[in-house]
């Protein structure tokens, strides 16, 4: 008996030793420089929601009645997802500048001027906040970004996935529709993720309105610039070009010299040259919210150079410019809509002249 035990223990011991040695070996193998890259970690991992979105169109001859039936189901689902969540529980946390709230998906619907109370004109861009629904929430531990974050992270943030504007589910792939299963909302046309502090997290299916933002505060707007295709240096980088006459031949819109030879003998990285212009994401930072329309969920922000053409999708969030963070606490996680509350249709910043106000008269100082 004892012998048997001994053998067992010995064998187990030997196994553990073997394991250790194997581990060492494997460690050695893993650490060896030569074979480090044999099976490297994926450097870039797509987010989980980045799946193929639209289904390839098939010309299925579906009868009229059946098509109506499919529409009916979609309509029923739409009603359900519009009433998904009416109440958002407040956790009674008061907003501080460290807490990051969620952003929203909006549509740029045009530019028109507003006048200030001092009589000067100001160009403003109108952003329509779409019917944003919370699709997913990743807690700070749960969220795995596609790139390794640097080791020191002071302010760990979670991530919220928002969807806006319901689409026809039969146009989307099964994978894409699967993203919406958890939240119970109908598949949406647009998806966007926003980093949020855990205090700013929202329940799944919750909606966000234009009153998420407040008049007088500043926002950043991220959008895709207008695609201008392959452009020369004059349009792309604002070069001056060369004279039209005085013996200039065939170099009227060219960039000219791009650098010397000699020891360098190459083109420096970053040299401004012709190439594709536009169709990249840009952020317009620190835009003031001047006016709100609660009926159509539209906000007016200062400036007319917001990336993207009219009717394009943009992402709006609280500004990250430290000098323009608001001093008064913001509604956290978003503004709770009270049904009995009497909300004015238009909310103006104090500097804006309201069109239905009497004509401006200047007084002598």
């Amino acid at each position: 008996m004892a012998l048997a035990l001994n053998i067992v223990s010995r064998t187990s011991h030997s196994i553990s030793v073997l394991e250790q040695q194997m581990q060492k070996l494997s460690l050695v193998v893993f650490n060896s420089k030569r074979e480090k890259h044999l099976n490297p970690k994926p450097r870039l991992r797509n987010p989980t929601w980045l799946v193929r979105k639209t289904r390839s169109h098939t010309d299925d001859p579906i009868t009229f009645e059946n098509r109506e039936f499919i529409k009916e189901i979609v309509q029923d689902k739409l009603v359900q997802s519009n009433h998904a969540i009416d109440e958002i529980a407040t956790n009674n946390v008061i907003w501080t500048p460290n807490i990051q709230r969620t952003g929203v998906i909006a549509r740029k619907i045009g530019v028109y001027p507003l006048w200030l109370k001092n009589g000067s004109k100001m160009q403003t861009t109108l952003l329509q906040i779409l019917d944003n629904h919370v699709i997913k929430y990743y807690t700070p531990d749960n969220y795995k970004p596609h790139k390794e974050i640097r080791p020191k992270v002071y302010n760990k943030k979670g991530c919220i996935l928002l969807g806006a504007e319901f689409g026809d589910p039969s146009n989307f792939t099964k994978d894409y529709c699967g993203l919406f299963k958890e939240s119970g909302v109908l598949p949406t046309k647009w998806l966007a993720r926003f980093f949020v502090s855990p205090e700013g997290a929202l329940p799944l299916g919750a909606t966000i309105s234009a009153r998420h933002f407040q008049v007088g505060n500043y926002v950043d707007v991220r959008g895709k610039t207008i695609d201008r295709g392959f452009q020369g240096v004059m349009k792309r980088h604002g070069f001056k070009g060369m004279p039209a006459s005085h013996g200039v031949t065939k170099t009227h819109r060219r960039g000219g010299n791009i650098g010397g030879g000699g020891e360098k003998a190459r083109v420096w990285p970053g040299t401004k040259m012709p190439g594709h212009m536009g169709n990249t994401y840009r952020v317009a930072k620190g835009l003031k919210v001047l006016r709100l329309n609660t009926k159509y969920n539209v906000i007016w922000v200062s400036g007319q150079a917001i990336p993207g053409e009219t009717n394009s999708i943009v992402y709006v969030y609280d500004t990250k410019i430290p000098t323009r963070t608001p001093t008064n606490p913001l509604p956290l996680p978003t503004l709770l809509q009270q049904t009995d509350e009497d909300v004015p249709e238009d909310i103006y910043d104090e500097s804006i002249h309201i069109f239905s106000d009497p004509t401006i008269i200047f007084n002598e100082k």
């Binding site: 001859p61 579906i62 009868t63 009645e65 059946n66 039936f69 189901i73």
Partner: protein, 215 residues
Amino acid sequence: MNQAEVSKLVSQLKTTVNPRLRKFRNPEGPEGRLDKLRKTVTALIKHERIELNYPRADEARMYAERLISDAIRYGDTHKTTMEMADYWLVEKQLIHKLFKVLAPRFQNYDISYTRLIRAPRPYPGPEDLKAVLELRGNPYPSLRPNGSYNRNLIHNVLLEEAKKAYRAKKYAEIAAKIDAVETAVGLNTNSQTDVPENDEVVAKEVEDKSTKEEK
């Protein structure tokens, strides 16, 4: 952001209008472009169905629609419309057809006057997209496939069954709700009726889930 022109009034086209017009580059310049298009428009009015390259068909379609809509709107007594018809229809006998045949035909149409269908391209051959452009109400047989047997296709049969099941469930739910309300009215106690209703709903959901799993 310029002002819209107000000197002329036009009817809205019933087709989608491209945001930009195609150039159709040619040695005669923009004049040549219109020349090309008016040949196509004339052919369309004449033959009522033509097969051609897609871009030209798409472009010519808009012009043909405009011409017909003006003919309906202003009639043959309007000078500018007559000038337009004279320019756009190379064969002059077609002007009569436009005002006497097509305008009455499309008088009460709520949809577009023309139809644009993508056609298969010859293989092997040039890779240009092909299309068929036709006037609605033409005497030729339809280009659409015969849909009378679609009902018997498998996905339609399945959908038919699904529809029956869905409707039955829906009506049952509505009936249950009405019953609940009636009992509530009968008892005159709102607070008590809420509880069993909720229970029912929960029970139904559970049932649904279990049936789904079985499937």
